[in-house]
Symmetry: C2
Subunit: 241 residues, 2 copies
């Protein structure tokens, strides 16, 4: 049995399967790609994933894509220790929560994150950037980088992304205030992993909305996450620059 994870390091969607592998104590080959060198758009990586997107799990030669689907796959193939509740209703709630991150939280945070790359992207030579854009197989990714390398996002787009992140903060604080210690209550699950792939950015992006005074339940949960051995092992998987 061989497992290999292609990823950008312990952040955002790449963090999701990385943390799951570590929680399960699985051995895997660590294949860190350098996003600033666009290694994920190189032909070598596109032979593995034609979409040129990470993370990707390679398991005995088969390519598993998309962080949320990868983690459900890891549960299906390596069920111990379980990170998906046995109770089917809690399992459905877990999927509602991972889906919310994919559909709502991640797109909003991506606007802020991509805008933050404007100083880097706008310095790239125009001809080089045009060649880079032509190498990007996914149309939405290409459009995002075209925006970022030209003007960045508009004030209205940035304000709307911050508004949606405010809703993510409110939802997370409410869930943890009513329940806890984990998102589904007593059971640590793939929902905690998925939210933790994005949530550490919240106090940084919206410090006036997300801080230990305004959102004590989130602060406590972030501390509990940070104390987990698997989370403490994450920095070793950062890119070496």
């Amino acid at each position: 049995m061989t497992l290999a994870l292609y990823h950008f390091g312990p952040v955002a969607n790449s963090l999701t399967p990385l943390l799951c592998l570590l929680e399960k104590g699985l051995q895997f080959e660590n294949r860190v790609l350098d996003s600033r060198k666009w290694e994920h758009h190189d032909p070598a990586f596109r032979a593995i994933n034609p979409e040129g997107m990470v993370p990707v799990l390679l398991h005995d030669g088969r390519v598993v894509r998309e962080s949320t689907a990868i983690n459900e796959y890891l549960e299906d193939v390596f069920p111990e220790p379980p990170l998906r509740p046995a109770d089917p209703w809690l399992r459905a709630e877990m999927r509602v929560l991972t889906k919310y991150v994919d559909e709502y939280f991640c797109p909003a945070l991506t606007v802020i994150g991509a805008h933050g790359a404007t100083p880097f992207a706008s310095k790239i030579d125009k001809a080089e950037m045009a060649a880079r854009l032509a190498m990007m197989p996914n149309e939405e990714v290409r459009r995002k980088w075209a925006t970022v390398s030209e003007s960045g996002y508009s004030d209205q787009e940035l304000a709307d992304a911050r508004r949606r992140l405010g809703n993510c903060i409110a939802r997370l604080e409410d869930m943890l205030t009513d329940g806890g210690p984990w998102l589904l209550g007593d059971e640590y699950s793939l929902a905690d992993i998925k939210w933790y792939s994005m949530a550490p950015a919240l106090p940084r992006v919206l410090p006036e909305r997300c801080n230990p005074q305004a959102t004590p339940a989130i602060a406590g949960w972030l501390d509990r996450m940070a104390a987990r051995p698997a989370v403490q092992a994450l920095p070793a998987y950062a890119p070496q620059r």
Copy 2:
């Protein structure tokens, strides 16, 4: 054991769990809400789902939300006949496909569909519409209806939605050309059900892009879907107006 489905009829996200229940031959109470009477925002329904959104499955008193999560729940609780492949890799591919509909296909089609409601929504008395908007618990839904009742979407937003729907057509045609008869090959699955909740709109919205000549594989798949007994049973679940 009691099962009840709250839905808008055999269309879009409401079709997803409806078709799954019918494929599994499960008995359920049929609770059709009239979206044009905003019954999903009434206090009676909000007591069941505070978000005021359908579909919702009620199973022995527990509320299961979100069409994709509902169908995985039905698989977890009523595994026969299986609509999720036994092979974990195919199962992951199934989840990649249902996720794509939720994140990419559905939002694009929603822009077109909501814009189509502008003639209806713009005729509503302004004071009544303001009261309706105030009853909508979900902020994104409220913003959508505010747009629709004022001006509709801009030409640029509509063109972008059509562009994305063009990508959905290309992806669907490619998958079925390379494989078939179903989206995962030989196994009919929740991926077919999810895509079928949206795909019948494609020949109507983009007739020049999606038709039996341009996209024969989609046309064949739509025919195979339409021939399934569970699909033929769907019209009986339409709202009685």
